[in-house]
């Protein structure tokens, strides 16, 4: 599904990813952990196509073709979804409007007819029920005045509507109370399937109690310092990030 090879990326003059390699196969859930500044969010943003980040070497292949030459919207239409660490408030743009435009942009790319209003509303309400979201959120501005937890649920709602092939969730668990965390986890688990890959970028082990990963990677200074199964996350929780940093440098 996704192959990242020896990826180096910078913002301005600062190199953040320093030769990162990662293979994510269909049906797998990967957790990417690491201390602040280790490059977790940069990796997510580079995959989504943020042009503040310049890729200086290495490659990213998605479903067999070069991902880096595509615009962000083309990546989205081909099934890549980024759940933002800080979802943007866009006053004046209706939540339902954005959801519908997003779904239809993808359908158009796939050669499908646009979803009509009735069909759309039915699907949106179904997904919202799963996330324990009030249907009233559909008629509000995108994330406008939403609480932290509501914003994250809204990201998961978008993901559920778009049914991506590759979902990258950037610290979706941060700042959530336990109910919101459960709802988000439920949304993620509902999406698990053999033809879909999920990458969870997280600082804490907490989310992994609810969404069990197949692989856990620890990032340090722009590289993967350690990979393992879910037990790595527990070990990390116990020993702290210094342990990885020491292991990486020592």
């Amino acid at each position: 599904m996704l192959e990242v090879k020896d990826l180096k990326a910078s913002i301005g003059d600062t190199e953040i990813l320093r030769g990162l390699s990662l293979d994510v196969g269909a049906g797998e859930v990967h957790a990417i952990m690491g201390p602040n500044g280790s490059g977790k969010s940069t990796l997510a943003l580079v995959i989504a196509g943020h042009d503040d980040y310049k890729v200086t070497s290495g490659s990213v292949t998605y479903q067999g073709s070069d991902l880096l030459e595509l615009e962000p919207e083309e990546r989205a239409r081909k099934g890549i979804f980024l759940g933002f660490q800080y979802p943007v408030e866009i006053p004046g743009v209706n939540n339902a409007y954005l959801l519908k435009a997003a779904v239809n942009a993808k359908r158009k790319h796939q050669g499908l007819d646009e979803m009509d209003a009735f069909e759309f509303l039915k699907l949106a309400k179904e997904k919202m029920a799963l996330l324990d979201m009030d249907p009233k959120f559909l008629n509000r501005g995108v994330n406008e005045g939403f609480s932290g937890g509501e914003k994250k649920r809204n990201e998961i709602l978008q993901m559920a509507m778009l049914e991506p092939s590759l979902a990258i969730l950037d610290e979706t668990d941060s700042g959530l109370d336990i109910d919101a965390l459960r709802a988000v986890a439920q949304g993620v688990n509902a999406l698990r399937s053999p033809d879909r890959a999920i990458v969870l970028v997280t600082h804490y082990q907490r989310l992994l109690d609810y969404v069990e990963p197949d692989h856990v990677h620890v990032l340090s200074e722009g590289r993967i310092a350690r990979s393992g199964d879910k037990s790595l996350a527990l070990e990390l929780e116990e020993k702290g990030y210094d342990w990885v940093r020491e292991a990486a440098t020592g």
Binding site: H50, P72, R77, F81, G92, V93, A101
Partner: protein, 428 residues
């Protein structure tokens, strides 16, 4: 400094030839005032960004042609289209003349209408261009809304000009009075057709009685090569409410002045505006609120969207006079520049001579938010779509807060269409 010169002899000859109607005395007085003071120039602080040379040239050419007011023949379709797009009781002004039929058909009870030509008038012309307006005025309306009038829908005033050949100049004057406890809403709509040059100068006054309420929306959607200056002077009664919103969608050289005089306590005033300005257009909004007594509130927010080589001006003046304690005056002006060549001059002016007041102002000039653009693109919207969505949202904030909710959809549709044109092809 440029000083546009109106050919005064031709002007006097034209005015002397007009019929001896109820406007004759006002016209002569205004003519003398104009002769003495001349038109504003870019040397005047309030006019430094707006050069009237082009407008004066149209006026002179129009006078050379003996002030021909071509009979608008071809604009019936445009009139019907506009009048049917807004549910209102319409009064129509064609080329500076009141349309007899719309006057005869106007029927809301509790509203009386008189033509200014019918009886002697003593019109005020205390501001630049209002003397030009009065000197050349051939027709005008006085609208009075009774305190107990129960209006079902807005009163619409359509000012439309057709410039078929040469150069056309027209003046219109509307004097509105809402009596104590009265309530009414107004839509003032400006449009124009024809390929020749055109300049329209409109002056409106609105007197609000004690405890009255007026909602007022002005839509300026003139042809992109036509020019317009407007002035709205409002006086507010005790505990009266005035909600105004102006939409400038078309026109080439546009200058709007609003002056709100708060002489009685308890006024609640909101005046907002949106201007969409494209390549070669110039839109200048000057607003002024005089808080002479307190308590009273005035809130204003103007937003502008500029593309190509567009020029925008916003100047908001709030004067809190001595003793106007309890004043709450708020001004905001936000501009979205969608091209490198667009330019806007934003200037808030607060003058405070009272102690117990709350005043604030803020202006911004910026581009679309990059983070929001990226967010929308990661949801599959193209860069162009994302820009359009964000730009529409920026404009929609003013539509949503404008009075007369029955025309919100129509406005949103018109704005979206105009933005589509402005952003078409351009890297905007």
């Amino acid at each position: 400094m440029k000083s546009p010169k109106l050919s005064f002899d031709a002007l006097r000859a034209f005015v002397d030839n007009l019929p001896d109607d109820g406007l004759a005395a006002s016209r002569q007085a205004a003519l003398e005032h104009l002769h003495k003071n001349g038109l504003p120039t870019t040397g005047d602080e309030d006019w430094k960004y707006t050069d009237l040379t082009m407008i004066v040239d149209i006026g002179n050419r129009w006078l050379e042609g003996q002030g021909q007011q071509p009979l608008p023949a071809e604009i019936g379709g445009t009139v019907d289209e506009i009048c049917s797009s807004i549910d209102a009781d319409w009064l129509i002004v064609l080329g500076g003349q009141i349309d007899e039929r719309s006057l005869a058909e106007f029927s809301p009870s509790g509203v009386s209408i008189r033509r200014l030509t019918e009886s002697a008038n003593d019109l005020l012309f205390d501001a630049p261009l209002s003397d030009l307006n009065t000197a050349l005025l051939q027709d005008g309306l006085r609208i009075r809304v009774d305190g107990d009038a129960a209006l079902r829908r807005p009163i619409g005033i359509l000012v439309i000009d057709d410039a078929m050949a040469g150069a056309v100049m027209s003046q219109i004057r509307i004097e509105i009075e809402v009596m104590a406890s009265g309530s009414a809403s107004f839509v003032e709509y400006h449009a124009s057709t024809g390929s020749a040059d055109s300049y329209t100068n409109s002056v409106t006054s609105l007197d609000l009685g004690d405890g009255s309420c007026a909602d007022y929306v002005r839509i300026q959607d003139r042809a992109l090569h036509h020019n317009h200056t407007s002035r709205l002077a409002v006086t507010t009664g005790q505990d009266s409410a005035f909600n105004h919103c102006a939409f400038d969608l078309g026109g080439r050289m546009i200058r709007n002045d609003i002056a709100i005089d708060i002489t009685e306590p308890g006024g609640q005033i909101a005046f907002d505006g949106l201007y969409l300005v494209g390549d070669g257009q110039h839109v200048d909004n000057h607003t002024r609120a005089d808080h002479r007594v307190g308590p009273a509130e005035s809130h204003q927010e103007y937003r502008g969207i500029l593309t190509g080589k567009a020029r925008g001006v916003w100047n908001g003046k709030a004067i809190v006079h001595q003793g106007a304690d309890g004043t709450d005056a708020e001004q905001a002006n936000h501009n979205l520049l969608l091209s490198d060549n667009a330019e806007v001059d934003a200037k808030p002016e607060l003058e405070i001579y009272a102690d117990d007041v709350k005043c604030s102002h803020g202006t911004t000039v910026g581009q679309l938010d990059e983070t929001s653009l990226f967010y929308l693109r990661t949801r599959g919207l193209s860069e162009h779509e994302a820009k359009q969505v964000l730009t529409r949202a920026f404009a929609q904030a003013i539509v949503s807060k404008s009075p007369i909710s029955s025309i919100h959809d129509m406005l949103a549709e018109k704005i979206s269409q105009r933005l589509g044109e402005l952003m078409h092809g351009a890297d905007a």
